[in-house]
């Protein structure tokens, strides 16, 4: 996790070495992985033992579908140079790993302060320093002749594995590589048709009660007319008059 390597960088912990790509901190990036993207932590302090001063290096990120066989999971050729297989060439990571991106080695000595994410000004900088988003850029898919390094959206509901490779710029040779990451699955989207909208229909007794009340009223009217001795009210313009008897 992020905290493991930051402790390691400060020399306090010698045992928590993480040698494979990890998902970004779930407390920070809650929407990860999404349907077509996976945000990985950049390889802070993973290759420190292989870095020599005054030499420049680049980190290559390889992506492979888990369904690809173990035989084809090599990322280097015979002369230990990194394979340049692209997204299109490897059938979207189905046949072999493809190179999704390359970037500079993250600075182990000055890791990004995640607390700075709360500041709106620094948030973008911190996020870009800390995370790499696989599947971020779909524009290279629109050009059928594009043969360069491509980081297009991943397939939903598919398990992928990732690997970081350290390459020396002058020699062009692979100096170190992490293990393949744990399998990470992109999200699956359900169809809205499957959403159940049950409508509760219940019979209201009120209508039934109303009809009962009306039946009672009618019988009351009928019984009132048969009584001749009770006082009646005479129709008049002013005071009501009782029937004289």
């Amino acid at each position: 996790s992020f905290w493991d390597w930051s402790l390691q960088g400060s020399g306090m912990c010698g045992c928590c070495v993480v040698l494979k790509p990890q998902l970004g901190d779930a407390q920070l990036a809650t929407n990860n992985p999404t349907l077509t993207t996976v945000s990985l932590e950049k390889p802070f302090c993973m290759f420190d033992s292989s870095l020599y001063p005054n030499r420049s290096y680049t980190i290559y990120l390889y992506v492979m579908k888990e369904s690809a066989s173990a035989m084809s999971s090599l990322v280097t050729d015979d002369s230990n140079k990194p394979l340049g297989s692209t997204f299109q060439q490897t059938s979207r990571g189905q046949l072999r790993p493809y190179n999704a991106a390359f970037f500079d080695v993250p600075d182990c000595a000055v890791p990004p302060r995640l607390a700075d994410v709360r500041s709106f000004v620094h948030a973008s900088y911190v996020l870009k320093q800390y995370l790499f988003r696989v599947g971020d850029d779909g524009t290279c898919l629109y050009d059928p002749n594009f043969l360069g390094v491509c980081n297009p959206p991943l397939a939903p509901d598919t398990t992928y594995r990732f690997k970081y490779v350290l390459v020396d710029n002058s020699e062009g040779m692979v100096k170190d590589q992490t293990l393949w990451s744990d399998p990470i699955k992109t999200r699956r989207a359900k169809l809205p048709m499957k959403i159940d909208t049950c409508v509760l229909v219940f019979l209201l007794l009120t209508g039934f009660l109303a009809s009962v009340f009306f039946a009672v009223m009618r019988s009351e009217d009928a019984s009132a007319e048969t009584k001749g001795t009770s006082p009646t009210v005479q129709q008049s313009e002013s005071r009501p008059q009782l029937s004289s008897e």
């Binding site: 809650t30 077509t36 599947g135 999200r187 989207a189 809205p192 009120t206 006082p231």
Partner: protein, 260 residues
Amino acid sequence: MAKTENGVRIFQGLLILGNVVIGMCGIALTAECIYFVSDPHGLYPLLEATENDDIYAAAWIGIFVGFALLALSILGIVGVIKSNRTLLLVYIILMLITFAFEMASCITAATHRDFLTPNLFLKQMLEKYQKPEAGNNNDKWMSEGVTKTWDKLMLQNQCCGVNGPSDWQEYTSAFRTTYSDADFPWPHNCCVLDSQGHPINLDGCKLGVHGFFKSNGCYAAISGPMNRQAWGVAWFGFAILCWTFFVLLGTMFYWSRIEY
């Protein structure tokens, strides 16, 4: 005989009082239903798109029933004071008709409240929000209404989706057909916006970093006003009907006692 005359007077007084209360309740019912029909929260397009806006029909009936109750209560008061058999008969018949209409309105409002579930609005949002132009004019009209209403809801209530922004990730939607997941894991109105209406940090919003996106669902903002409307029309109507029932009973009894 003076006692029975007093008894008659008291009974007349009670009927007049009953009719006064009916008249006032009629005014109140009309006012309440006009308030609901005016749609202060702007949620009518959502109901229209469910093709079942019966709680609005119930409110419309309530307006006219309220007027009818006011007019009939005046007729009733005049009829009781004059002890005119014809007037009271007209009153009773018209009151029964009004009673039936109000009963229909209340039952409609009460039963349709249970129709308004979260899943209903979720399905509607996923199928109609930002739906690209397709289908007939009616379809287009409903989709536009749903889109505008949702945009307004998300801006005013600082919320996203029905249960939360995860609705957009868990289900496919018409929105998803036009907007890619990489750029729009959820609509940009789900991001915390600045004063110009732009997300304050788009990367943070896309990644789901707290503080940059709205994590609440909008269901409370939809169901609150709609439930109040349904309950308001239904239960106030039922209360008026209960009172009217007893006044009608009394008037029928009084009518049967009038001598020609």
